[in-house]
Symmetry: C2
DNA sequence: TTGTAAGCGTTATCAG
DNA sequence: CTGATAACGCTTACAA
């Protein structure tokens, strides 16, 4: 008949009483800290387990220990979020790294950059998180100033040039873009177009530059079309590009969704892929493998990226100095959507 | 030169001093509670804003108020998680509902059912969450006993028959399955197979039964093949089924991933879809639209489901009585992967 | 309407 | 090594 005890929670005071010692010793024992005899420690641990004690993280956080939680705020419309495989992969990676150190992940979807900053401020003020992960870096990102000023441990995911000295996890997008352009050049394409993400992302300029330079070096006609990352925008951009007087024979997209949309658009217009136009996607996901023809894509391990970012953040929380970690450069995964350039009419 | 003040955080005591009142009044003012004059309230609010005060949720939670956070624990291998569009859609929906009430989402990926229960216990003990969302209900789900016993507000997402009286958000999977079977029957199919999720999910038995009954009612040869929800397992199951002496001409899958895998498998074996075999997927996602031929699928709004679940959980946290909420029944979205049964050889 | 003070469950300091 | 005891920031009776 233990039902009477059900309502109250077990505290370290209970454990201390039962183990005939003080709360301080219990705290030491439970946190594996020195300054306590092995005998007491074992007794405390045994009693805690028997009583079913579990730490009240609120109290712990309040007393100055960590919250054992990191924060991730995504700036996306929820419905877009759900369609981008990237984020779920990233989150999955983060979780896998957090799980082994039993940390939690606090997730928030913000409507815009201001809401994002607001969330970070709120979190740090409320001691809910020990640190934050910053994705989708923007040029002159205000979040970086905020975390720095507020002293919030943070890791930026994106190009170091946009991270202003914060610990950074990045992939070499410029090198990846070079591969893509050179692949098309090697296949004999003379006119290529890049369908790019908005300028508000820091990586956009980097990919823009790499695209321009490599295309020029290869002596290709080249052009950049600005789009957003949605399916619709990808289709619209593709239609416009393919309707031009001398349409390009190679297209490079900034994500997989737009590339798939382009594939559909090309088919609708009776164009063959890769017979009439070759398509390259960025972010190789299930989608790229499953469509017909399979999409040649710049493939990288987003799950690993998320895991690495989370691990580095835990380091930073533990006091590590800022550092820059480069992940594997996205590799061009060649599939059926790229082929020899069509011979001129 | 405000740099000296940077380290300390602003507390209600600071606000009280500055506003020349007590911490109690500040608390009342900040929480919009009665028992304070309008004049002081405004003064407090103004001072709080000026000082940049933000609530310490740790302290708040410790003092007995809520944590303003709900928990969601997913039992999946992280890499599988990232491939299932369902979860990201669900999370996106949850976030959208939470955002309007400025609540956070604590996410955890558990390796197995025990880890899941452990997470819930830990959360409730640590006062990190005000309530939890339960997805992927299992028959006799231990989590239900746990939340009940621990008095954790919870909402189950799944069939009410598995939710044991908890507030539940569900879709009528039996009705959805009937549509799928009748669709195939109407197209003249005489032999159909269901490639099903593992029995550990509560919905599996419900879909099994509906499949059997409807197929029998329609006078069809029918069979159920057990699989897991992965791409590989879907391909394996499809190969096995199509190799049988008298293969079925219609296949119904329990998710979209397996259905897409089946499509690829059929093509590899030189079979036409829907010429030789018709395919129906569950959970209509981008994938189903984008593959060729497009997949006929049971389509439902998972984002809305997540939003509804989150809203109902907030109700429960606010003391609402248990209730059952039925969401729209998945609708059969007919695409090119289903067609008339092939004429017997 | 206001202010005082007692928790909430830990951690951390500092004498024994 | 051990045990009181004071924070931590907020909520909430209870007094004034």
């Amino acid at each position: 008949m233990t039902s009477a005890a059900r309502a109250r929670r077990v505290t370290i005071a209970d454990v201390a009483r039962e183990a005939q010692t003080s709360t301080a010793s219990v705290s030491y024992a439970l946190n594996g800290r020195p300054g306590i005899s092995e005998a007491t420690r074992e007794r405390v641990l045994e009693v805690a387990a028997r009583l079913g004690w579990s730490p009240a993280s609120a109290a712990r956080a309040l007393a100055g220990a960590g919250a054992d939680t990191i924060g991730l705020v995504l700036t996306k419309d929820p419905r877009d979020l759900s369609v981008e495989p990237f984020y779920m992969q990233f989150i999955a990676g983060v979780e896998s790294a957090l799980a082994v150190r039993s940390r939690g992940l606090l997730l928030e979807v913000a409507a815009d950059a201001d809401a994002e900053v607001e969330a970070i401020r709120r979190w740090r003020g409320s001691r809910r998180v020990d640190g934050v992960l910053l994705t989708d870096l923007r040029p002159h990102d205000q979040r970086i100033a905020v975390v720095r000023e507020a002293g919030v441990p943070a890791v930026a995911v994106g190009d170091p040039s946009a991270a202003a000295g914060l610990t950074t996890v990045w992939t070499d997008d410029a090198a990846a873009m070079r591969q893509a352009v050179q692949h098309l050049a090697a296949l004999g394409h003379r006119r290529i177009t890049r369908v790019a993400a908005p300028r508000r992302y820091a990586y956009t300029a980097i990919r823009d530059d790499a695209f321009d330079q490599t295309a020029r070096a290869c002596g290709l006609d080249h052009d950049i079309v600005r789009s957003d990352l949605s399916e619709d925008a990808g289709a619209v951009a593709t239609r416009a590009v393919l309707s031009s007087p001398r349409p390009p024979t190679g297209l490079i997209f900034d994500n997989d969704i737009m590339a798939v949309a382009a594939l559909t658009t090309a088919h609708q217009r009776g164009l063959s892929v890769p017979g009439d136009v070759s398509i390259i996607a960025w972010d190789d996901s299930l989608l790229c493998r499953l469509v017909t023809p399979g999409l040649t894509a710049l493939s990288h391990d987003v799950v690993a990226l998320g895991a690495q970012a989370a691990r580095r953040l835990l380091d930073v929380i533990d006091g590590a100095e800022p550092a820059v970690y480069q992940e594997a450069t996205p590799m061009l995964q060649v599939r059926a959507s790229t082929g020899p350039a069509p011979t001129e009419a």
